[in-house]
Amino acid sequence: MNVPRKLVPAMTAMVLVCAAAFGLTPLVRSQTQGDLTKYTVGKEKSGYVYATPTTRAMEDDDFQNPGSLWVDKGKALWSTVDGSAAKSCQSCHNAAATSMRGVGAAYPKYDAKIGRVIDLEQRIGLERERMGATPWAWESDELLAMTTYIKTQSRGMPVNVSIDGPARATYEAGKTFYQTRLGQLDMSCQQCHVQNNNHLLRTEILSQGQTNGFPTYRLSWQALGSVQRRFRECNANIRAEPLAYGSPQYVALELYLAEVGKGLPVETPSVRK
């Protein structure tokens, strides 16, 4: 074969990549990094189980985990005085390590005062209004940092949402959304994440789409992002119109997914590809 010498290493690499993609890689990754049993509850598996050992190592090392930058920022914001009431989160809630322990694991949650289910981001927005401060915009560094900081206080605790009573209807709405085909590809969430999870989609192993690790640092985003950013991306992938941040359907979907993954440990901030 008359191939320019420069191309040979590239071609060898391509052959190796192809070999890896077709059959040589075990579908559930090996246990070379991290204790996978911690991330499996019954049939439910966290995205951690599907991640590569290097990504897992990055998540497990608190220092190397880039999500820790947002945790640090959230910690600083926790005690920053803002708004007309001249208060910080800390003025009322004291140390987050004790007051916020377990809080993030229970969201989305039904709020009796406003009469609907809200997620953690919306709860932070409402608290900001009570402080007389402007709520942070969705996906702003501040909101991501605070959500991550609060949720990381529940790290390792099982996801523990409630779908009893008035939250039930929202759960059902989320379930319907999960099963509804959408977009030009006419696909529903469950076609990938239930019927085909653990199978290859091109070179990627489809996970169950669990939400216990959000907000998550995705290497493809090069940034931390909320679960709703992921929903929007999934919707765009099936060529459906992504919904607005904080829309009722997405909050319902959050509740449904949290209920499905009940018992999985909160991993925030997780690291994913």
């Binding site: 220092f63 190397q64 880039p66 820790s68 930058l69 640090d72 920022k73 560094d141 090069q222 940034a223």
Partner: protein, 109 residues
């Protein structure tokens, strides 16, 4: 997190003389590659951390030139042999000429 660049360091507080220690650094920086275009089709100018240096008691012990393919929030880790107590000074310089500095002391016995 371009507006508030934060750095994190992990340097052991103490070490034995002649010991090889691991130093870890992480800095929040968007590392804009200069390849992307904005909505109006204009190239977003490159803004990456282009050099990282570490000096120990004023003497350079590690330096690195960074290229556009390096991801945002670069994590840099390297080993250093320590012979005397002193201070590690770290410096990141980006394309806008901004300099980010951090330092950490170590006691060598």
């Amino acid at each position: 997190m371009a507006e508030t660049v934060e750095s994190r360091l992990r340097v052991p507080a103490t070490a034995k003389k002649g010991e090889i220690i691991d130093i870890k650094t992480l800095i929040s920086h968007p590392m804009v590659s200069g390849q992307a275009k904005d909505a109006s089709g204009k190239t977003i100018p490159r803004d990456i951390i282009n050099t990282f240096t570490c000096t120990y008691n004023g003497k350079q012990v590690f330096a690195m030139k960074l290229e556009p393919a390096i991801s945002s929030n670069p994590y840099i880790s390297f080993p250093v042999r320590v012979d005397a107590s002193g201070t590690f000074d770290f410096q990141w310089v980006d394309d806008n000429g901004q300099v980010y500095k951090d330092s950490a002391p170590i006691t060598v016995s």
